[in-house]
Every structure is written in structure tokens, then in C-alpha cells.
Symmetry: C2
Subunit: 117 residues, 2 copies
């Protein structure tokens, strides 16, 4: 789906993920986002446009400021998509779990007096 394309590719950049993380603490102006980023203001504006196209942020208008706020709704679709695969990684964790238990059992036999920490 088109929307998933936009969301996943917006999330594929660490700068944009950092922006979202910052916005999770509350809305911010563009300059507040530029500050800690060591990127230029136009570059941040471009990243914001990408996030906006993906529906992940929305912009207000207050005098000459254009406050940016998080809009997490599109993340739900992404999370749902991932959810379909949850059983696969849990499965492999189960197998790992079994493996670890088996390992402990063997260790228990061979190194039975290991001290607890």
C-alpha cells in the first residue's frame, strides 16, 4: 500500500526518527528541531516535508512560527503490518529458549557446582 511505503520510508532515516522522538515530548518549532541536529534549517524543513507527506506530523500556524506536532496515527498501520509477523520472531525466540534450556540442562550436569551470582 502507498501509505505504508510513505511511512516506512519516512522512518528509514535516523534524522526523521529523531525528530519524531523529539515531538513525542511535545510540539516544537522548526528552529527547535534544527538546534540539536547539526543540519541546516532547509535540510530539516525537507525532512519535515517528508514526514508531513507520510502524515506523521502536522503543522500549525502561530505568527511567523509553524509549530510541528506528532501525528502518530499512521504508525498504527505500520505496527499492524509488523504484527502479522510477530509469530515468526516469537517462534524463533521460542526455539532459542528451548536451546538455552537444553544448554543449561547440560551445563547443570557438567558444571553442577557453579556458584550463583
Amino acid at each position: 500500500m502507498q501509505q505504508l511505503d510513505l511511512v516506512f520510508s519516512a522512518l528509514a532515516d535516523p534524522t526523521r526518527r529523531a525528530i519524531l522522538a523529539r515531538l513525542a515530548e511535545g510540539e516544537a518549532t522548526v528552529n527547535e528541531l534544527v538546534g540539536p541536529s547539526d543540519l541546516s534549517q532547509p535540510t530539516i524543513s525537507k525532512h519535515l516535508k517528508v514526514l508531513e507527506r507520510a502524515g506523521l506530523v502536522s503543522r500549525g500556524r502561530e505568527a511567523q512560527f509553524r509549530p510541528v506536532r506528532l501525528n502518530a496515527a499512521p504508525l498504527e498501520g505500520a505496527a499492524e503490518w509488523l504484527g502479522d509477523y510477530r509469530r515468526f520472531w516469537e517462534e524463533s525466540l521460542d526455539r532459542l529458549d528451548v536451546y538455552v534450556k537444553e544448554l543449561k540442562r547440560k551445563e547443570g550436569r557438567h558444571v553442577s557446582k557453579r556458584r550463583r551470582r
Copy 2:
């Protein structure tokens, strides 16, 4: 994080998501993936390389076949990242819920005799 970059950008392409969906049903050869895709075999091979770099598939070796199988483990990191934002979309759903309830209350007052369906 680098790994998240690779995973999210691998997921940003619908062809690659389709490949993963197909692999969720079991391993497949390259040609089995080319079949329904209307893309050329080299193109699919390239997509597979992207998925492989993200750690999302692994390749076997059986005679001249190189079976591809799903490796969902890296998806867990992506799901965790998204999980940090769950409260935000749930929040907005809550607000929506409140809004809907409020709406119903008002409708109840003004259109109190609306028939149930």
C-alpha cells in the same frame, strides 16, 4: 540505529513486502518469487539482496537452487520502536472515542427517537 535504517527502508518497497508475505507461507526459490511479480529475475534478485542486507531473509543452497527463507527477527526491533509510539495513536483513538460518545449523547438528546438497527 543502522539496523533500523536497513529494516525500515527494506520495508518501504511493496515488492519487498510482498516477497516477505510470500515467504511467511514457507521458503521459496527465486523463480517462485519472480513468477507472480511481473518483474524480471535480476530485479527480484536485487530486491532479495536488499532484504538480505537487512537480515530479513537468508539463503540456502540446494543444487542450483538458492532457497530463500524469512528471517523475522529484525522485525522485532522495528516493532519495538513503533511500540514506543503506541500510546500516541491510542490516545488519539481515545479522544476520538470520547468525541464519538459525546456525539452520541448529543444525538440522544436531539434525535432521541432514532430507531436502532
